[in-house]
Every structure is written in structure tokens, then in C-alpha cells.
């Protein structure tokens, strides 16, 4: 029998003389889910530029992580990237968007506003203090706004969580959110190397650690 570990083999080959029976189907499903997240384009303010646009464009290239198919419709998306401030008037709309997304769904809250209200936590009559007051959040990415690399770090954290068996989760069940905080003193070069290691451990392709573009 084929032994499927947490590490996905490069190819699934049929055994000679009969179909392969996969003992650990869940890990395949989790792997597939983690590698093809479809984010919902939900950008309310500043973070949307860094997290959805700059990260998705040519220089940083979100497609490397299998999450570039941004959909404006919640019915076609399974990852809600909360980029920006949530105000009281937006609260019911955000709840509706979350409810309309198909299970299993994941939420990354990026930026200070989506984590805690950020600069608008005091003396603001309309800013909601954090997305967790409205919907369950899986990963927090700190920054104001976070750089695209920090967002990728959060995305990789979420992918790791999914691979470790998040699919068995019951609908709407709240789990403990993870803070995808970049360690202090980390340079961009180290971060890129770490990302590539993470990518290569689950892929057959080789990646270059040279940043694309730039002078």
C-alpha cells in the first residue's frame, strides 16, 4: 500500500495491477486546500494596497504561494483577507460576506486596524476594535500596514495550519488565532530563504532566492 505521510509525494502513481488505496486521504485534501487558497478581495483601506495589490503584483508575486486567484465574490472564495479598518457600519456587511463564503473558510486579519483598531482605538466613535469582534480569525499579521513579506509569512502560517489538519474543524467553530509575527532582527534575505525552504519542502520545483526586479 502506498504510505502517505504529511509530506505529499511529487506524484501519485497507480500501483501496477490495481488502483492505489490512500490510507490518509485527509492529508492530501489538506495539502490541496493549503496550496490553492482563493482570497476574497476585501480591502477597506491602506492595507489593501500592500497586502492585496502589491503582494499580488509582479514584484512580490502572490502566485508563488498558490493564492493568487483573488475573487470579488464571497461564494467563490475561501480565504478572507481582512485588509483595513472595520467600522460599525461595515460590521453587518462583513458578517454577511463571511457567512456567504463556502466552508472551509479561513480568515487572515492584516494590519493594526483589523487586529485591534490600531490608531483609531481611542477617541473614535465608529471604529470596531478588531475583526475578532465580528468573525473568527485564524491568523493575525501585524504591521501598519504589513509589508508584503509579512503577509506571505502569515499566509505560510495559515497553510501550515491547514496542512496540520484544520479541515476537520466544525463550521463556525472558533479556534485560537495565531499571531504570525515576524521575529525581531530578521532580515529580508533570511525571510526569503525561509520562505523558499518552506515552499521547497512541499514542492518539486526549485526556487531562486534572488529577489525579482529591483535595481
Amino acid at each position: 500500500m502506498g504510505l502517505i505521510t504529511d509530506q505529499m509525494p511529487p506524484m501519485i502513481e497507480a500501483f501496477p495491477g490495481g488502483p492505489a488505496f490512500l490510507t490518509s486521504l485527509d492529508s492530501i485534501i489538506n495539502w490541496a486546500r493549503s496550496s490553492s487558497l482563493w482570497p476574497l478581495t476585501f480591502g477597506t483601506s491602506c492595507c489593501a494596497i500592500e497586502v492585496m495589490m502589491a503582494a499580488g503584483a509582479a514584484h512580490h508575486d502572490l502566485a508563488r504561494f498558490g493564492a493568487e486567484v483573488a475573487r470579488p465574490s464571497p461564494r467563490q472564495a475561501d480565504l478572507l483577507v481582512l485588509a483595513g479598518t472595520i467600522v460599525k457600519r461595515m460590521e453587518p456587511r462583513l458578517r454577511t460576506l463571511y457567512d456567504q463564503m463556502a466552508e472551509p473558510k479561513y480568515v487572515i486579519a492584516t494590519g493594526a486596524c483589523a487586529i485591534s483598531g490600531g490608531p483609531f482605538i481611542y477617541n473614535s466613535y465608529s471604529t470596531v476594535r478588531g475583526a475578532h469582534e465580528i468573525i473568527p480569525v485564524d491568523v493575525y499579521v501585524p504591521g501598519c500596514p504589513p509589508r508584503p513579506e509579512a503577509f506571505f509569512y502569515g499566509l505560510l502560517t495559515l497553510q501550515k495550519m491547514i496542512r496540520e489538519g484544520e479541515t476537520i474543524r466544525k463550521p463556525n467553530e472558533r479556534r485560537k488565532p495565531v499571531l504570525a509575527n515576524l521575529p525581531p532582527g530578521l532580515t529580508l534575505e533570511q525571510l526569503r530563504k525561509e520562505m523558499i525552504q518552506n515552499l521547497e519542502s512541499h514542492s518539486v520545483t526549485k526556487f531562486s532566492d534572488k529577489p525579482t526586479g529591483g535595481f
Binding site: 491602506c46 467600522v87 457600519r89 466613535y125 465608529s126 509589508r147 526586479g213
Partner: protein
């Protein structure tokens, strides 16, 4: 219980003029707050006859963060942080707007280095903002390539900013009395490299997008507004200039070192989407010209003329000053009661004022035209809602 918001909006909807012909049936379409081409959380209620837009009712407030209330509880230096988050694509120019208002109130004379560096950096950001607009404009019209091209070149300016300023988007660089830090030693060289790199790229933008027949069809004679109406509906910036009124504060009330440099103010003729497109494309050329004239001889001097961190207490009174951002006039109005916090702070934001000319541009056109129009006036929603 009736949701009062719906009931008040419904009343407004019932008042909207009905112009059906040929016994067609009218209906309403909700565009936003979650819509890819409203650039954020703007909501438009459209009264439609077939595919023709009859009337538009904008609904704002989905990102109203109460910045003006918040401003009253923080000191003058911290206002700069809040303006970063209004129009985040012109954060440096917003910083300049509020810093200049405070400097004028306190009669602070800046040295030439500060003025020159401010001008260069603000013009760089004008290019950066227009690059992003160009990319997103293409994407809204259904072409994905401009998005990738625009962001590729935007990253070059972002890299320059990151070295000098330490931030990529919310800059918080200009302070009342100068700048937070002096420019990076490599700044001049990198900016020169960028100008050399970007001139041919602008030509490439034109080749890729402007001459395209589909783009021309989508933009020419779409969303026409004449200068007088645009002015009456509060439009400023490229939207007003495309309608033929050369209202540019850099020429009219020169600030910084704009009075010492040679540049043109691009003006449109028809006032359609194509003119707004052309005005912005030419503004990028003009910004490059301005930077070229200044970059070789940045005067020596300090980067901060005030004592850093000292509390600011302007004299009592009402102070209004304005500045030209990439989208239009950014005005700062504040009332001082001689304490270290403003009694009242109000921002005249360009996007809030530019939005309403859509009500004159879009009716009679198609929904697809409305997307082109919205993109051509380049809305940033948090700036509208404050």
C-alpha cells in the same frame, strides 16, 4: 423593526427621477460596498433602465473612522500620522498639507533644503500614485497587464522611499518644521537612475495601452463634464483640469520650490475619460521634469528647523491652507486655542469633492461606462469618509 437606513434610502430612491421610455421596466442595482471596481467600500445605488444608468445615489460611511474627532485628542505632531491614513496613496502630500498649515500658523521659515527635498519626494509620490492609478485603470477596463507593469515600476519608487523614509505606504515623513530624517546618501543617485529608467517606460505605457482601439472606444466621449459644472460640483485636480480649467495650486499659490521650476499644467479639452487619462499621463512627464531640475542641486542645510519633539502651540485663531495632491486640493482647517491640541481639525479631502461630479457624468451611459468613469476620477474611499 424597519431598518431606518433602508427606509431613509428608500425615500430618496422614490424621489429619484423616472425617465423610462418604450415601456421598459426600471430596476435598482446595488454597486458596492463589496465591489472590485469601486476601489474600496464605496456603495452606489443605481437606477437602471435596461443597461442605461438613470440616476446614482452614493452611500458613504463604510469606512468612516472619525479622524476629525480623534484629531481633537492628539497633539499637533500626531496629526501627521492620521493624515497618512486618509489618502494613503498621497500620504506624503497629506503630511505636507498638515505640516504646512501648522508652519504657516506659527510663522516658521523653512530652509531651502527642506523645501527642495519635500518637492522632490512629493513629485516622486505623484508619479507613484499615477502609476498605481494607471495599473488599476487598466484592470478595471479588463486588461490585467497594466496592473503588473504599473506595480513593477511603483516598486522602484517604493524602494527609494523605503531607504530614506523607512516606510512603504504610510510615510509619516514630513513633520511641522521639516522632515523626520535627512535623505539617504544614495537618494540622489537612485532617483536619477529611476528617471533614466522610467522615461522609456512611459513610452511603453503609451504603446501598450493608450493606442489600443478598445481603450479608445471605452474612454473617448464617455463621462463628459464641462469645466463649469465640474467646478460647481467641487471637483479639483486632474478631474477639473481635464475639463479645461487650469486650476493647479502648484502654479496658482506656489508652495515648496514650485515657483523656481519650469513645468506645464496639462489641461484637457472635452472633459471625458480620455482627457482625464491623458492629463494624468502628462502629469507624470511633468513630475519627472520637476525632479530633474531639482535633483542635481539640493541645497545644504538642516533637515529640521524646530526643536525635535517640542510641543507645538500655535496662536489662537482659524487657519486654512491647502496643497495640491495627486487627486486634487487637500485643505487643512484648524482652530487653535493656544493649547498643544487643536480645538477643531478639519480636512478638505479631494476625493470627497471629486466624487459628486459622477452624478453629472454617468447618467445616460451604461454600467460599463460607470466603471470607466469611477476609475478615471481615481477614487480613494477612506479619503472620502475620513
Amino acid at each position: 423593526m424597519v431598518n431606518p437606513e433602508i427606509s431613509s434610502l428608500e425615500k430618496r430612491i422614490q424621489q429619484s427621477p423616472s425617465k423610462t421610455e418604450l415601456n421598459t421596466q426600471e430596476y435598482f442595482v446595488n454597486m458596492g460596498p463589496q465591489h472590485p471596481s469601486t476601489h474600496g467600500v464605496l456603495r452606489l445605488v443605481l437606477r437602471m433602465d435596461g443597461e442605461t444608468v438613470q440616476d446614482i445615489i452614493p452611500v458613504l460611511g463604510y469606512i468612516h473612522r472619525g479622524i476629525e474627532k480623534k484629531s481633537e485628542s492628539v497633539g499637533y505632531r500626531q496629526q501627521v500620522h492620521l493624515t497618512d491614513r486618509l489618502d494613503y496613496l498621497c500620504s506624503l502630500m497629506n503630511n505636507w498639507g498638515v505640516s504646512a498649515a501648522i508652519e504657516k500658523a506659527m510663522n516658521i521659515e523653512l530652509n531651502d533644503r527642506i523645501e527642495t527635498v519635500r518637492t522632490i519626494v512629493a513629485e516622486l509620490q505623484r508619479i507613484q500614485s499615477h502609476q498605481l492609478w494607471w495599473g488599476v485603470f487598466g484592470m478595471d477596463l479588463g486588461a490585467f497587464t497594466p496592473f503588473l507593469y504599473g506595480f513593477r515600476d511603483r516598486e522602484k519608487i517604493t524602494a527609494i522611499f523605503e531607504e530614506t523614509i523607512g516606510a512603504r505606504l504610510t510615510m509619516n515623513y514630513f513633520q511641522p518644521g521639516g522632515m523626520m530624517y535627512d535623505i539617504h546618501p544614495d537618494f540622489v543617485q537612485k532617483v536619477k537612475e529611476f528617471i533614466k529608467y522610467f522615461r522609456p517606460i512611459l513610452k511603453e505605457y503609451e504603446d501598450l495601452f493608450s493606442g489600443n482601439i478598445i481603450v479608445q472606444e471605452r474612454l473617448r466621449n464617455v463621462g463628459i463634464i464641462d469645466g463649469k459644472t465640474a467646478l460647481a460640483y467641487g471637483a479639483t485636480g486632474p478631474v477639473l483640469r481635464a475639463s479645461g480649467i487650469p486650476y493647479d495650486l502648484r502654479k496658482i499659490e506656489p508652495y515648496g520650490v514650485y515657483s523656481k521650476v519650469q513645468f506645464e499644467v496639462p489641461v484637457g479639452k472635452v472633459g471625458d475619460c480620455w482627457d482625464r487619462y491623458q492629463v494624468r499621463m502628462q502629469e507624470m512627464q511633468e513630475s519627472l521634469k520637476i525632479i530633474e531640475q531639482l535633483i542635481d542641486n539640493i541645497p545644504e542645510g538642516k533637515h529640521m528647523v524646530m526643536k525635535f519633539g517640542a510641543k507645538i502651540r500655535p496662536p489662537a485663531g482659524r487657519f486654512y491652507s491647502q496643497i495640491e495632491t495627486a487627486r486634487g486640493v487637500f485643505g487643512t482647517f484648524f482652530v487653535s486655542d493656544t493649547t498643544d491640541k487643536p480645538y477643531r481639525m478639519h480636512f478638505r479631502t479631494p476625493n470627497f469633492h471629486n466624487l459628486w461630479s459622477v452624478l453629472k457624468m454617468a447618467p445616460g451611459g451604461r454600467v460599463a461606462d460607470l466603471v470607466a468613469i469611477l476609475s478615471s476620477i481615481d477614487v480613494v474611499v477612506p479619503d472620502m469618509d475620513r
